[in-house]
C-alpha cells in the first residue's frame, strides 16, 4: 500500500503547467517589487520610521540604511526575474527567498498573508526543478528540458492553494461575516461612489450577499477547479472574484498571485496546448483563413489536451527517468519514472508539511474567544480581509519611584501607518510598551510601569476596552502572555448594521 502511494506520488506528469507557474509567479513578484520601489514605499515604510516591530525569534532582523534597502529590494527583484526566466533557478530562488523573507521580517506592521504565501511557494519550489520547462535554461540547452515531473510536485502546490482558500473560508464562518454582513457592510458603504458598481454596492443587502458569496467562493472554489467540467467557470469565477477584490480593496498583489496560483488546477499540459493553439491560429491567419472558421475548426481543436497529454507522457518515459536518476532536486529515488517511487523520508517531510499547513492556521481555536479581537493566531492563518478594526491607544507610564504618571501616544514613536496597524494588535501594543519604557529609562526615569488605555472598535461596534488598563505590560509573565488574560474579552453585542439586520430577519 505504502509502496503504491510512493510510486503514485512519483508518477510523471507533464511539467508544462509547473514551468508556467514558475514563470508567472516570478513575473508577478518582479512586478510587485518594481511597484513597491516606484511608489516610493521603501522611503515611507522603511526609511522614515524610527521604530520597527519585531517577530518573536527574529529580533535580530534590523532595517538597513537606504542603500542596503535598495540593495535588498534589488536582490529580491533579480531573484524574482531569475525565477521567472528560469535561469540559475536554485540560486535565483534562494536569493529571492532570502531577500524577500528578510524584507517581510523587518516590521510586523507590514505583514501580508499573500507575501507569506509567496514565501511558502518559494520554499516548496526549492525542491522542484521547475526551470526544466519553459525557461531560458532549456532554451539555451534543450537537452536540459524535462517534459515530465513527479506528480507530487503539482499536488503539493495545489494543496497549498487549497489551504489558503479553505482557511480563508473558515475565518469567515462567524456571525459577523455571515449573519450581519460585517465588515462588508462598512466597506461597501465606503465604496458606494464607484463608477457603475457604486449604486449596486450601496444597496443594503449587497454586502450580505457579497459576504456569503465570498465565503462560498473560498469554501468551494478548489473543488470547482478540481473538476474538469466546472473548471472553466470556476476559473472565470477566480478571475472575476479577484478582479473585484482588486478594484474594491487596496489588496496589492494578492489577486495576481491567486489568479496565477489557481492555474495549477488546469490540466498539466495547458501551456503547451496554448502555445500550439497560438501557433496554429497564427499559421492559419497567415494562410488567410477566416478567424471564425478557425475558432470552430475541429482540426484546430484537435490538438486537444488528451492527445497532448499522451504526447507529453509518451515521450518522456525516458526523460522522466533521466530526470529522476540525474537530478539531485527531486525527492524521487532512482530508476525509471514508472518504476520510481518517492523517497520515504521525502514522503514523511511532505506529510509533515501538509499537516502543519492544514492545522497551524487553526491554532486560534486553542485560545478561545474571538481571534479578530485578541488576534492570537491571527497571522499565518489566512484570515484575509475579515475585519474592520480601529483603536485609540494611549500608554500610561508610571514612575515607580514617585508614582507620577505620564501619557504617551504611539505616534511619538510611529508613523501614521504603523500606529494604525498596531493599534488593534495586542502583541504589538505590548511590544511598543517595552520601547516606551526604554525611552523613559534613557531620559532618566529608570523604574517604570507601562499600562495602556486601548479602546477598539471591531466591525463598527462602539469602542470597547481591548487591554486590561491595570496590567503593567512590562511585568507580564510569559505564562500570562500566553494565557492572554491581559486582553479584555471581546464585545458581545452585534455589530450595528440596521439594514443588514433587517435582511437577516432581526428586529
Amino acid at each position: 500500500m505504502i509502496d503504491r502511494v510512493l510510486r503514485g506520488a512519483s508518477r510523471p506528469v507533464d511539467s508544462s503547467s509547473l514551468g508556467a507557474f514558475r514563470f508567472l509567479l516570478g513575473a508577478v513578484m518582479a512586478g510587485g517589487l518594481c511597484r513597491y520601489v516606484l511608489q516610493g514605499w521603501i522611503e515611507v515604510v522603511f526609511v522614515e520610521p524610527t521604530f520597527f516591530f519585531k517577530y518573536p525569534g527574529f529580533e535580530w532582523v534590523s532595517v538597513p540604511g537606504p542603500l542596503g534597502l535598495y540593495g535588498l529590494f534589488g536582490a529580491a527583484l533579480l531573484g524574482a526575474l531569475g525565477v521567472a526566466l528560469g535561469t540559475f533557478h536554485r540560486i535565483s530562488l534562494a536569493v529571492f527567498l532570502a531577500a524577500f523573507t528578510y524584507i517581510q521580517l523587518m516590521d510586523v506592521t507590514n505583514y501580508l498573508n499573500h507575501y507569506y504565501l509567496v514565501i511558502l511557494f518559494g520554499g516548496l519550489m526549492m525542491f522542484m526543478p521547475l526551470d526544466r520547462r519553459h525557461s531560458l535554461r532549456t532554451w539555451h540547452d534543450p537537452s536540459a528540458e524535462r517534459r515530465t515531473l513527479p506528480v507530487w510536485m503539482l499536488y503539493v502546490l495545489r494543496f497549498q492553494v487549497a489551504v489558503v482558500y479553505l482557511h480563508a473560508a473558515f475565518a469567515k464562518a462567524g456571525p459577523d461575516w455571515l449573519w450581519f454582513g460585517q465588515p462588508m457592510n462598512i466597506w461597501m458603504a465606503a465604496r458606494s461612489e464607484m463608477f457603475l458598481l457604486g449604486p449596486i454596492l450601496a444597496l443594503p443587502q449587497v454586502p450580505w450577499l457579497m459576504s456569503w458569496a465570498g465565503f462560498l467562493y473560498d469554501l468551494t472554489i478548489v473543488g470547482w477547479l478540481s473538476v474538469r467540467k466546472t473548471r472553466p467557470w470556476a476559473y472565470g469565477a477566480v478571475v472575476v472574484f479577484h478582479a473585484f477584490t482588486f478594484v474594491l480593496f487596496e489588496i496589492g498583489m494578492f489577486p495576481f498571485i491567486m489568479t496565477v496560483a489557481t492555474t495549477l488546477f488546469f490540466e498539466p499540459d495547458w501551456p503547451s496546448r496554448l502555445k500550439r493553439g497560438i501557433v496554429e491560429v497564427g499559421r492559419r491567419w497567415s494562410d488567410g483563413t477566416r478567424l471564425a472558421g478557425m475558432l470552430s475548426s475541429a482540426r484546430w481543436t484537435g490538438v486537444g489536451p488528451r492527445s497532448a497529454r499522451v504526447d507529453a507522457s509518451a515521450r518522456p518515459a525516458s526523460t522522466a527517468s533521466a530526470f529522476v536518476s540525474s537530478s539531485g532536486w527531486s525527492f524521487a529515488g532512482s530508476g525509471s519514472s514508472h518504476g520510481s517511487r518517492l523517497h520515504p523520508v521525502a514522503a514523511v517531510a511532505l506529510l509533515v508539511w501538509c499537516a502543519f499547513q492544514a492545522l497551524y492556521p487553526l491554532r486560534s481555536h486553542l485560545h478561545g474567544g474571538d481571534v479578530l479581537w485578541h488576534e492570537r493566531g491571527m497571522r499565518w492563518s489566512w484570515k484575509v480581509m475579515v475585519r474592520e478594526k480601529n483603536a485609540s491607544i494611549t500608554y500610561r507610564v508610571e514612575d515607580r519611584t514617585t508614582g507620577r504618571e505620564w501619557q504617551v501616544s504611539p505616534r511619538r514613536y510611529l508613523d501614521w501607518r504603523q500606529a494604525n496597524e498596531m493599534a488593534g494588535q495586542p502583541d504589538l501594543i505590548r511590544q511598543l510598551a517595552f520601547h516606551v519604557a526604554n525611552d523613559f529609562r534613557e531620559r532618566g526615569v529608570p523604574e517604570v510601569a507601562v499600562r495602556v488605555d486601548a479602546w477598539a472598535s471591531l466591525n463598527g461596534r462602539p469602542p470597547h476596552r481591548l487591554i486590561d488598563p491595570e496590567v503593567d505590560l512590562l511585568s507580564l509573565s510569559e505564562a500570562a502572555v500566553r494565557a492572554g488574560t491581559w486582553i479584555e474579552p471581546a464585545p458581545t453585542g452585534a455589530p450595528k448594521a440596521v439594514r443588514t439586520r433587517r435582511l437577516a430577519g432581526l428586529p
Partner: protein, 443 residues
C-alpha cells in the same frame, strides 16, 4: 472565451462531435441530451433567483442610497462636503482674510509711528481667526506630498508658512539676528521666501508686537552679542526695526492667506465638493472624507497633546511637574482663547456649520442617515462637553497650569473622549483611511 476554455479544460475526446465543430463547442444546431435541458433550466433559475434577490434588495424602502426619510439621500457625501466647504472652511478663510488685512494695516500703522496696541489687538484677531483654520488642515493649508507622504490632497504647505508652531517654533534669537543684521533687506519682497519658517509667522509677529524689552533672545556667545552689534543699536532703533519687521511679516502673511483664499475659491472648493464627480483632486467623496478626518486628528495631536498635555505635564514630553515654557503664545498669553477657538472650530467642522444652523449637513447627519444615530449622538454630546470644558478654563495659561490645573485636566479628558471615539468607531464605521495607509497593501 472559447479559446481560453479550450486550454483550461481538455475536450472530451470520447464525446461525439457535431460535424464541423470542435468537440465540446456546442453549435446552435446541436441537439442536447434530455438531461441537458433540465440543467440549463436549473442554471437559468439559479441566475434568475440571484438577480431577483438583488432586485428585491434594491427595492427595499430602507435602502442605502435611497431617501432616508428626511428628504436626504443616504450615502451621498456631497452635502457634507458642501456644508464643510461653504459653511465652515470658506467663512473661516474669509474671516482670516479680513483679520490678516487688518493686521497688516495695523502693523504698517505701528511702523509709521502709530500705536503698538493696535497691532497687538489686530494680531489677536488674526491669530484667533487662524486658530479656527488649524482644525481644517486639508487642501491648500496641508503639507505638500499627497497621501502617500501622509499629506492631504491638494496640499500647498500654507499652514506652516503662516504658523508653524509647535513643529517649527519661531526662533526668537534668529529674529533678533535679522533685526541686527538684515535691516536693509527684510523688507524686500522675496526676503521671507529665502528664510526658514522659524523666523516668520504669527508667532514671529507675536514676539515683535508683544516683547517688552530691548534685550535680545540670543545667548552671549551669539555673534550679535559677541561682536557688539546689538549693543550698538539705540533702543529706539530696535523698536523701529521690530515694527518694520512686523509690518513686513504681516504683509507676507496676508499674501499667504490671500493665496489660501484664492486657492479655495478658484479651484479647490469646487474640486472638494465635486469629489468623485469630475474633481481633479479627489477621486471620490470618500477620499475627501479621509482628508477631513486626517485634519480632525489635529484635535488629538495639536490641542490635546501639544497645547494641553505637554504644558500640564500629562504627556511624556514634559518630565517636570508642569512645562509652562511649552505653552502656546507665551508673549500674548492667548493660549486659552486659542484652545477655545480650536475646539469650537472642530465642532463646526464635524457639524458642517454652527450647531444652531438649520441648513448645515455635517458628519452627525451623515452618520444618522446611515443608521449610526448612537455614534452621532455620542460624538455631539462629547463635543458639547469639550466646548463647555474649554469655556470653564480660567485664568489664562500658563497661570492656569498651577491655579486651575483640574479644569485643564477636565478639558484634556473631554477632548480624549472625543478623540477616542473618533479614532476607533468613527473611523471604522466610515471605513476611513489614515494618512500613509496607502503606502501599503491590505489582506
Amino acid at each position: 472565451m472559447k479559446i481560453i476554455l479550450n486550454f483550461i479544460v481538455p475536450h472530451e475526446t470520447n464525446r461525439p462531435a457535431a460535424a464541423g465543430h470542435a468537440p465540446g463547442c456546442r453549435p446552435r444546431t446541436y441537439t442536447p441530451e434530455p438531461g441537458a435541458i433540465g440543467r440549463s433550466r436549473r442554471c437559468r433559475l439559479g441566475i434568475g433567483l440571484f438577480f431577483g434577490l438583488v432586485l428585491a434588495a434594491s427595492c427595499g424602502d430602507d435602502g442605502a442610497g435611497a431617501d432616508s426619510g428626511n428628504g436626504r439621500p443616504t450615502l451621498d457625501r456631497t452635502p457634507v462636503l458642501e456644508s464643510v466647504a461653504d459653511r465652515v472652511v470658506l467663512p473661516a478663510i474669509r474671516a482670516a482674510e479680513q483679520a490678516f488685512a487688518n493686521m497688516e494695516q495695523a502693523a504698517v500703522s505701528a511702523r509709521d509711528g502709530g500705536d503698538r496696541a493696535g497691532l497687538q489687538a489686530a494680531w489677536r484677531q488674526a491669530s484667533l481667526s487662524f486658530q479656527a483654520l488649524e482644525m481644517m488642515q486639508f487642501g491648500p493649508l496641508g503639507d505638500l506630498g499627497g497621501p502617500s507622504a501622509g499629506a492631504p490632497r491638494g496640499g500647498r504647505g500654507l499652514r506652516d508658512e503662516i504658523y508653524s508652531w509647535p513643529v517649527v517654533p519661531v526662533s526668537l534669537c534668529a529674529i533678533d539676528q535679522i533685526i541686527a543684521n538684515d535691516a536693509d533687506r527684510f523688507e524686500a519682497p522675496d526676503f521671507f521666501e529665502t528664510q526658514l519658517a522659524n523666523v516668520y509667522g504669527l508667532d514671529g509677529i507675536e514676539y515683535l508686537a508683544f516683547v517688552d524689552t530691548t534685550d535680545n533672545a540670543c545667548p552671549e556667545t551669539a555673534d550679535i552679542n559677541a561682536d557688539g552689534t546689538w549693543d550698538g543699536l539705540e533702543d529706539s532703533e530696535i523698536g523701529d526695526r521690530r515694527a518694520r519687521l512686523a509690518a513686513a511679516q504681516a504683509s507676507f502673511l496676508k499674501a499667504r492667506v490671500d493665496e489660501l483664499a484664492e486657492a479655495w475659491e478658484q479651484n479647490f472648493r469646487d474640486d472638494f465638493v465635486s469629489a468623485g464627480d469630475g474633481s481633479s483632486v479627489f477621486p471620490s467623496g470618500q477620499a475627501a472624507f479621509d482628508d477631513v478626518y486626517a485634519a480632525m486628528n489635529q484635535l488629538d495631536l495639536l490641542v490635546k497633546d501639544d497645547k494641553l498635555g505637554i504644558p500640564l505635564g500629562i504627556h511624556a514630553e514634559c518630565l517636570e511637574a508642569t512645562c509652562p515654557d511649552r505653552v502656546e503664545s507665551r508673549y500674548a498669553g492667548a493660549s486659552r482663547e486659542f484652545i477655545r477657538a480650536n475646539v469650537e472650530a472642530f465642532r463646526r467642522l464635524f457639524l458642517g456649520g454652527q450647531p444652531e444652523d438649520p441648513s448645515r449637513h455635517g458628519f452627525d447627519i451623515y452618520l444618522r442617515d446611515i443608521g449610526r444615530e448612537n455614534l452621532a449622538n455620542d460624538l455631539v454630546q462629547d463635543m458639547d462637553a469639550m466646548v463647555e470644558a474649554a469655556q470653564d478654563v480660567d485664568p489664562p495659561l500658563p497661570g492656569a497650569l498651577s491655579s486651575d490645573a483640574e479644569t485643564l485636566r477636565t478639558l484634556h479628558t473631554a477632548i480624549s473622549d472625543v478623540t477616542t471615539t473618533l479614532k476607533s468607531q468613527f473611523v471604522s464605521v466610515l471605513a476611513l483611511r489614515v494618512p500613509q495607509e496607502g503606502a501599503a497593501d491590505n489582506d
